[in-house]
Amino acid sequence: MDLVLLFFIFVLAAFLGLELISKVPSQLHTPLMSGSNAISGITIVGALLATGAEEQGSMGMILGFVALVFATINVVGGYVVTDRMLQMFKKKGK
């Protein structure tokens, strides 16, 4: 893919990310962090490609598999723990 285009996307995403979170109530700092942490597990996509597209038993495939396990823990654990936290907050004030 065109390198310049990738950079273009990167820069735009950076500005978007900076604009997205301006004033967050401190109550939400932990869930925001843990929720965005789960998103950073998007590297799971790279791990899937490395695991599935490489030759069976090759070094690349093994590394991909290990990456897949850790990325999945990051993603699943991250979303579930964030949800648990927010559920706790939700009960309040009702």
Binding site: M1, L3, L6, I9, F10, A13, A14, L16, G17, L18, L20, S22, K23, V24, S26, Q27, H29, T30, L32, M33, S34, G35, S36, N37, A38, I39, S40, G41, I42, T43, I44, V45, G46, A47, L48, L49, A53, M59, L63, G64, F65, A67, V69, A71, T72, I73, N74, V75, G78, Y79, V81, D83, R84, M85, L86, Q87, M88, F89, K92, G93
Partner: protein, 473 residues
């Protein structure tokens, strides 16, 4: 080709869901739905990737997904709310590790086919590929070991104090230069055997750097480090996205990197310090860190006497800190607050943004104890009403209530916004012993005329107050 276009379109949808998810996480009413929206985006991205035609076998993919999900689910379900900070740090480290491994796997592919063939097959530039592989490995590695070290500190497996040794800065600088130097040779090197060795060396040094970077940072600065590591894990994913030329990794990773950076800045502002100061000063390691001396002795008060004061008070504010988390006192504190309310006393909580060891730490603890959200007041709300408060009860907080931050220019924490507990008519400070706070500073609040210390374990102190109140009513 057709499939590829469809996959990329699907990635656009996933990225959009992430954007909305993060946006919604920033506001209390929509936060939970926001998390679901972003989770949906993730699910979508994963499912779509599975139909990529370059995937040959699904056996190991299935095994990896099942194994990872099982571990993640069990860990997230079983963890106690109080252990939340360290779990988030651990997950964060895993994300960094995964990005490192993805970059490494791509490098193995290159080792298998040679640079020239790789350039042709991927329509990429060898120097650029080398650069981003090294970059993803570096950021991922630092995130991994840095988060592991932070996990150790947060869970109490490692000492929470800053570890500083002579020549530490020089050593870290040398480490930086070495990592950078190796990276340059790696990027422009074409000999596969040599670059492989360089890659492994660079990886070893990056992993070491993660540990060395977090080591000199004291416990009270952890909120900054945790949010910075969170930002880095996003950047690592983004770099990995450049490695495999994948849009959704670049965008999602970058979003996390940028929003994590904002949170880091918020944390730094709450301490009135720059990021550089937090990272490199080794704050809290030295006990002779300046500040005016004060030879007045703190005055202690017994639990019974404290009870009489509380019974007569018409408004009380609790100011929790890390000590409350350590003593696991949040449930009894909530009980005490309820009893006080029944007694006709107004009871609120004042939350400093950097109280505890991670952003929003106190909020999580008190929410776990079922304290109503409306009772948690932020610093700006609570400070103006402080002079009308009868009793401020400081529970295991120290620097965030140190008046030296407002009036002692020689103090290292001068300028840091604090909760002005000293303005209250009476201040009770619950403290384990007579030691200093994590910053090693003498807290002026403790020796003020209107302050009374209650020494001992916060949980048992509060429990006895609760019992006194119960028996009196």
């Amino acid at each position: 080709m057709e499939a590829n276009v469809l996959i990329n379109l699907a990635y656009v949808v996933a990225a959009t869901l992430f954007v909305f998810g993060i946006k919604m996480l920033g506001s209390a009413d929509t936060a939970r739905r926001g998390n679901l929206v972003s989770g949906l985006g993730m699910l979508f991205a994963v499912v779509v990737t599975l139909v990529d035609r370059s995937i040959l076998s699904y056996t190991w993919i299935l095994a990896g997904l099942v194994l990872g999900s099982a571990i993640g689910l069990v860990a997230a379900r079983l963890v106690k709310m109080t252990a939340m900070p360290e779990l988030v740090a651990l997950f964060n480290g895993f994300g960094g590790l995964a990005s490192l491994l993805v970059a490494w796997a791509e490098f193995e592919k290159i080792r298998g086919m040679g640079w020239a063939a790789y350039e042709l097959a991927m329509e990429s530039n060898a120097i650029f590929s080398g650069f981003v592989i090294y970059l993803a490995m570096f950021i991922g590695g630092v995130t991994f070991t840095g988060s592991l070290f932070a996990y150790g500190k947060l869970s109490g497996k490692l000492s929470g104090t800053a570890i500083v040794f002579k020549g530490q800065k020089a050593f870290n600088l040398l480490l930086c230069v070495a990592i950078l130097g190796i990276g340059i040779v790696f990027t422009w090197g074409s000999d596969l055997e040599l670059t492989y060795k360089l890659f492994l060396t660079g990886m070893g040094l990056s992993l070491l750097f993660g540990v060395m970077g977090v080591m000199p940072i004291g416990g009270g600065d952890m909120p900054v480090v945790i949010s910075l590591l969170n930002s880095l894990s996003g950047m690592a994913a983004s770099a990995a996205g450049f490695v495999i030329s994948n849009n959704v990794l670049i965008v999602a990773g970058c979003l996390v990197g940028a929003s994590g950076l904002i949170l880091t800045v918020i944390m730094c502002k709450a301490m009135n310090r720059s990021l550089g100061n937090v990272l490199f000063s080794g704050f809290g390691a030295s006990s002779s860190s300046g500040g005016a001396e004060d030879d007045r002795e703190p005055k202690a008060i017994s639990v019974e006497d404290a009870f009489y004061v509380l019974e007569a008070a018409s408004s009380v504010v609790f100011i929790p800190g890390y000590g409350m988390a350590v003593a696991q006192a949040q449930h009894v504190v909530k009980e005490l607050a309820e009893l006080l309310e029944e007694n006709g006393t107004e009871a609120n909580f004042a939350i400093h943004p950097v109280a505890g060891r991670m952003p929003g730490h106190m909020n999580v603890l008190l929410a776990e104890a079922d304290v109503e959200y409306e009772k948690l007041l932020e610093m700006d709300t609570v400070n103006p009403m402080m002079p009308t408060v009868d009793v401020a009860i400081v529970i295991g907080a120290n620097d965030v209530v140190n008046p030296a931050a407002t009036d002692d220019e020689s103090s290292p924490i001068y300028g840091m916004p604090i909760i002005e507990a000293h303005q209250a008519k009476t201040v009770f400070v619950l403290k384990r012993g007579q030691g200093k706070g994590f910053s090693g500073l003498v807290n002026k609040l403790f020796v003020m005329e209107n302050t009374r210390m209650i020494y001992g374990d916060a949980k048992s102190t509060i429990s006895s107050l609760v019992n006194e109140l119960k028996s009196s009513s």
